[in-house]
Amino acid sequence: MATTSISLIRPQTEKTRPPRALWVSFDLGRPLGSAEDPEFQKDVIRAAFCLLETATAPSIDDYPIDAPDEAEAEQWACPLNLGPVTEDTLTGRLLAEVARLRPWSAETRAARNGRTLFGASGAAPDQVDQVATALAGFAESGDVPAADGGIEWAFDMPMLIRHLADDLRTHYHEAIAAQPGSGSPNHEALNKWIFGGTALGDSLLAAADQLTEIDSGMAKLVRGLLIPEGHYRGEKTF
C-alpha cells in the first residue's frame, strides 16, 4: 500500500520523511485550503495524488497556490455589539452573551442540517447554557458546579475545562458564521475578538488564572491548551 500526504509544517515533514508529501501554505486547521470549495479541495488532493505517479524517491513538493483570502484580524469585526454589560457576575455575563448569540448559532446549525461539533465535552448539542455555567463557575470559584440536565462529562478535571472552552467557541463560531457581512475571519481574527472583551474571553482568562493557582503540572498544561499563545495577559500560556 502506498501513501501520499499533505504537509502543513514543512520542518515536521522533513523530520518524519513520509514517502510523498505535498507542502501547502494554508493555515493550520485548513489542510485542503478552503471550506465549501470542492474544486479547490480536489485540486489539492489531485496534486497529492500526482506524486504517486511522479515521485521516485521520498520527496516534498510545494503546492503552488495560496488559499483564498480570509479576513485578517485588522479587517474583521463582529457585527454584534455584545455589550452593554448589565450582569454582575461572570456567569451572568457569559449566559447573557451565549443567549445573545443563540439565534445566530441556531441559523447556522439549521443551514448545516443540524450538524455541529458542539459536544466534545460530553454535553448534548442543546446544552450550551450548562456548558457556559460550568466554565464560568470554575472561572469564578475554582470549582465546576454540578450540571443541570444530567450531563455525564466526557473528561475529568482539569482537562474538562479545555473541552468546555472548545464547545463554547463552537457556539460562537457558529453564531458569527450566520451573520450577514461577518465574512470568514481567520484564526487570529477570531482570537482577537474572543479575547478582546467578550464574556467568553474574560471567562477563559479567569479560568486560566484558577488553573495557575492549582499546584499541578497538569493544570498548567491545561492552561496552555486553553488560551492560544499571545492572549494570556502578556504571559506565556504554557
Partner: protein, 142 residues
C-alpha cells in the same frame, strides 16, 4: 507543534513502493484531526490510539476532541471535508479518478511531539488498511 518541529527526531524513510495507477486504486483517509463519532470515547492527552470512521459515515455524527488550541475549528465546522475529504473521494470515485473509497478510514489526534509513539497503532492501522484492500492511504494533518 510548529514551534517544536525542529526538535523532532529524524525518522528513517520506509521502503519504497511503486503504486498502482490511481484509477485502479482503492483509497482511504488517515487523519490526525482528532475527529470521531459522538458516541466514541474522546481523545485524551497523549493519545496514540485511533477511531474508525466508516466509509459511509455522515459528518452530522462527528465531533472533534483534539486538545490543541493553536488551530481554529471554524473551517472544519463549516465543512469537515477541508480536513477529512470523504465527500471529495466519493466524487472522485464516481467520476473514475480513483477506483473506490475504502470501507474504513482512521482518525488519530496529532500534536504528539514523539512521533515514534505511534509506531504500534500505526502498524496496526496499516494491517487493517491492507485487509480492506486499500491501495493508497491519503495522510492528512490538521
Amino acid at each position: 507543534m510548529r514551534a517544536r518541529a525542529e526538535a523532532l527526531p529524524e525518522i528513517e524513510a520506509g521502503p519504497w513502493l511503486t503504486p498502482k495507477p490511481l484509477a485502479e486504486s482503492r483509497v482511504a483517509i488517515v487523519s490526525t484531526a482528532g475527529m470521531h463519532r459522538r458516541s466514541d470515547p474522546p481523545f485524551t492527552l497523549g493519545a496514540v490510539d485511533y477511531r474508525i470512521v466508516p466509509g459511509d459515515a455522515g459528518f452530522d455524527e462527528m465531533v472533534v476532541s483534539h486538545i490543541s488550541t493553536n488551530f481554529d475549528r471554524s473551517a472544519f465546522q463549516k465543512d469537515p471535508n477541508i480536513a477529512f475529504p470523504l465527500d471529495r473521494l466519493r466524487e472522485m470515485a464516481q467520476c473514475g479518478e480513483i477506483d473506490s473509497v475504502a470501507q474504513w478510514h482512521y482518525s488519530f489526534m496529532g500534536a504528539m511531539p514523539v512521533p515514534t509513539m505511534f509506531e504500534d497503532t500505526g502498524t496496526e492501522v496499516g494491517r487493517l488498511l491492507a485487509a480492506d484492500d486499500v491501495d493508497v492511504a491519503l495522510l492528512i494533518p490538521v
